[in-house]
Homo-oligomer: 114 residues x 6
């Protein structure tokens, strides 16, 4: 993993496999995506942890099995608090139904520590 | 609007029209939904404002025109910071594409103050 | 509107504009789609009315503004009972969140008689 | 499982794991959700069986693997007729495409008796 | 597999299991769907290969695990070029986010030859 | 509009309003997104026109009213052939249902010349 990807890993908790593939196949694309990702995920008005909470909620609402697990793993690596995460998923429950909450809850129960 | 709904309005910034209809049509259903809503939206591990930010992001990811506008209006009433909200939507951009960001950005530009 | 489309109108309450366009542009495609549609929408194990209720619920869950209004109009033409339709949408509320119910409720309040 | 959850099981065929978790973690939330669920799923203008058919169709349209299987299992427990269920899924096919039908058909073939 | 289904297999690379079930359960429905499918998938203004590329992109955007794998397998059978397919998925990345690209990329890496 | 955005306009037919806002608010983000967009939309294994066709199909499948109209307008500016576009949308019809086709067809009938 190159230096740019290592730095990204610190920001987001887990570098997607896709970005690692692009690093070999199309380094220019990898560069733009990596810089954009680092810029968006870093601490700003909102902390990295809060952004990760949002990401899990969005992935759960979309019933996206890949993303919800990847984001939950990233949240775990960044030290996101389990109870904050679970509380956030209740908003997803209201907006997208119990099954969306289920996607999120299953992922955090598999990848985060209570 | 009855006392229970007024209290809900303070928590979430804006009571959905649907809950107001249920208050007349099916008070028992209104009661459970209102109590559940108050419980989920109130300040807890996460603030009401952070929960509203999550709600806008989820609605934007779902390309839900009704919800994204209603949540943005609620965010405005709760005094959510525009720049925090916009930063959160960038996470939605990464997870659900530029058009999802567009749904959210359009709603907050129409309903929130910069 | 040709005889085949008139017959379809009786089954489904409202022929989609698209099928009418295909009738001119590609009659063979119109024929297969029309026959398939008639076959699926007609009274069978489930009545045409129950199928229309399902269609409104599915369109609402997908946050599909075009389909939810078209299906609600078709439901009205077929004499679907408003209260049955509203009760069905509560299932959509549980499965897909309050905003999905809102899509459906708005459409039936605009297109069906209480 | 407490008395309230047992009663819910009779209405819906299968209590979601999530509600059982909430029974321990947050009994008040469990209570509102359980009462709301019982109220919505019980025989009314539409039978419990018809509501379950709608639920499977909605979950299939959303490509929701968890929900479509859970609802199909619940449908089986409530004695929903396989042929009625399959006919309903054809409406989902029209509204949401062949792959949505596939989600539903796979679930009912795994969880219901022909 | 009957002659009609064999012909369809040549057009689309892989006949869905569902159509094969309908061939036994409801031959009339199978006939309309098969004719419609052959008509839509065949070489026209766009080649069969380009249509398959579109199908993979749409299934990936919908996070549809069944469809994205089935379409990727069909693309492989029709000799779709891997690099064209991957380039197309980048459009899905822009429109529907990195996780949508991931659904597509995973499917083509499992089912197509580089 | 700066030089970079003008160049992007040539590739994609229409620069999203959002990118123009980012040009003022956050030039670094605008730069990465613009470079990534140019790279992905430019002629490659697939032509810019074919990529635009894919984009309309994906936006239609997602029932994304903003994106489907923006992409249809971009397709028109790039000289995409109406009949190719309509044929592509039939694949969306199969994968995501008639209402998804309707989203796409409505947009191209409003924004493209036959």
């Amino acid at each position: 993993m190159d230096a740019q990807l290592k730095e990204l890993e610190e920001e987001i908790g887990k570098v997607p496999l896709i970005v690692q593939k692009w690093a070999k196949e199309d380094p220019a694309l990898k560069d733009w995506v990596t810089e954009m990702d680092k810029h968006i995920w870093k601490d700003g008005k909102l902390s990295r942890q809060t952004k990760k909470i949002i990401a899990v909620c969005v992935a759960a609402a979309l019933r996206d099995r890949h993303a919800v697990r990847a984001q939950a793993a990233g949240a775990s690596n960044l030290g996101v608090d389990y109870d904050e995460m679970e509380e956030a998923l209740r908003v997803t429950f209201l907006l997208a139904g119990m099954p969306a909450y289920t996607y999120g809850r299953t992922a955090i129960d598999d990848f985060m520590k209570k």
